[in-house]
Symmetry: C3
Subunit: 261 residues, 3 copies
């Protein structure tokens, strides 16, 4: 079967730029393209890194991921290929690739040095089309990353962190707010107390009582729940409502789940 | 040619969840994936059911439709495969599949009982990825639904209703508001009076005079028109404007088209 | 490899209509579909024409482009196939195809006259599904446009214009506002003064000092820059901000870049 190629960017879902990348990729042969999201908040490298990391458990070895959240495009920031667990990650050297790569396996990074690829950069503002897509096309054709780049001794890293237990409470951070207004944290779901437990939840500036639940649907409508999310992380939700509104919370805000008195 | 697989959800167009479903599906072989929409209003089973029903006249036998509008995910609600007119429908047992299935043919429903499929449910919040996509993949490979599930004697039904004539007026309901602000009703377009007829239109709380037209473009700019929509249903539109704003109307609101004095 | 087919419309990214077009296209054999954008501002033929024109440098001969920004659907406006540089353009005769076609090569236009295609028009409001998609499917199968239509002696043209030098200043128009709030003008980037030059920028009603830069990332955060865009046109941007907000400017507004005193 043709290789999988995924695309992630902050171009916006109405943008024509992903289509330009797909058109460029199409010249490299048959592949199966999957858009992860093009609605990463503009320039939010951290949100992009999180979203990319959610897909790698479900894509096979040989998959090529292209991530373009790239506020430094056209500056001296380098262009990378990272190999991990047999999957390839192509994008800027700003950390956006790293959480996904670590999740896929032990990352090895290459700085793109291939002359033909670098000559293709016709614009200083759209390396997604001019450099990353062609590099991804070459990888999808089977070109080894070592042919397209040189091992990178040092790269920009990015760590989404892992929530943990601090004096009896779960402490972490909001990574992402999804389309339902659910708050996805970096706290491993395995740390949650049993379903039914009442917890005191602090997210952003609000303090509210919530209940641990196995699923959204088990709570009463409008009730705040803490659930093990689909990605193995704790999620905060309001049944058929928006937790982001109820808690005035957004990505980057600290979260604390303590015992309710 | 590889089978068609359609995806519908309320995940939001920027969500990474459809990509996770596509990645899972990709493991089941070549198929041609079509996104119907991922912008169903959150938890709006009725809107999802309508949108799914619009595609089935254009998809061939063998097509697999996956619909994930699933506020009850992780509760005891069952997971279904419905067969109708040679097309397959996979999703929760909450009615979202039924209007489309009835439109495709005589529906026969199966509750998913396959052990391997049910064992794959690793999260209690994302059956789209963990259960419905794998079931769709198996169907796309040609596995008969009877192998994956057991006939369901009773399922949750959902009827979008059909507008009709009541004392000389057309009476129905708004099913959907499209991106232009056009109001799509459940009134069959065949019941419309001839183009040019003036009608008294009540939608939501507003009462306005409109004109029946064959097409949007025949009206004057800003004028309210009633047209036979592309799906065979009456649509209410404002030429190069937004009927939803002019009439303060949204999905679920009653509609009445009576003679204008 | 299967032919490329691109889709562009103002249906909105949550709309089910592009899926209906894809389902219709799927019946014509294997092809590789690319969505350029379905978020063209409703009825904005000019914005659609611009977006379509950005893709043609990256698509090969044989590509079929379908553009549905069609406020006149169902009226007497004609349906066109335009051939240019070996690429095909299908859509309404309102100019939306022309800037892209001219960019691809010397356009030759045909009015669709094929009986079978015209008989397929089952709705007066959705020619994208009923006429343009089937015509595109036939072209993708290799049917020559002369078989599907008759040469059109005269068609509706549309010119995006080209910014130029007027008394020492660059004068043009905003063609498009992208998802970052960047303003894409019709001024060729080759006319820009060297990077580092300060310019007096008038866009809409605002007058502001900006700096010519090679790339977004070289400016200070929040600073207004003028850059050579990825499409060879001058773009106005605010580093990690929104130029459209800073300048209160939108598509169609005149732009003037003069020397800063």
């Amino acid at each position: 079967m043709p290789p999988l190629v995924t695309l992630l960017s902050d171009f916006g879902s109405g943008s024509p730029y992903p289509a330009a990348m797909r058109a460029v990729l199409a010249a490299y042969g048959e592949m199966r393209c999957i858009d992860i999201s093009h609605d990463v908040p503009p320039h939010d490298v951290r949100a992009g890194a999180y979203l990319l990391s959610t897909i790698v458990p479900f894509t096979p070895a040989g998959t090529v991921h292209v991530a373009v959240v790239d506020p430094g495009v056209g500056t001296s920031r380098r262009a990378l290929i990272v190999v991990a667990g047999g999957q390839y990650f192509v994008g800027p050297d700003n950390g956006v690739l790293m959480p996904a790569a670590r999740r896929a396996g032990a990352p090895r990074a290459y700085v793109i040095t291939d002359e033909a690829l670098l000559r293709g950069v016709r614009s200083s503002t759209f390396h997604g089309r001019d450099l990353f897509a062609p590099a991804a096309g070459r990888l999808a054709q089977g070109t080894p990353p070592g042919v397209l780049g040189a091992p990178a001794p040092e790269i920009v890293d990015l760590d989404l962190g892992t929530g943990r237990v601090v004096r009896g409470a779960l402490v972490g951070e909001i990574l992402y707010v999804d389309a339902f207004g659910n708050l996805i944290t970096n706290i491993p779901a395995s740390l949650l107390p049993p379903a039914g437990t009442r917890v005191m939840l602090r997210a952003g500036r609000r303090l509210m009582v919530a209940r641990v639940s196995r699923t959204y649907g088990e709570a009463a409508r409008g009730r705040l729940v803490v659930v093990p999310g689909s990605d193995g992380l704790v999620e905060i939700a309001v049944r058929e409502g928006r937790a982001s509104v109820a808690l005035h919370a957004s990505a980057g805000a600290p979260v604390r789940l303590g015992p309710a008195r």
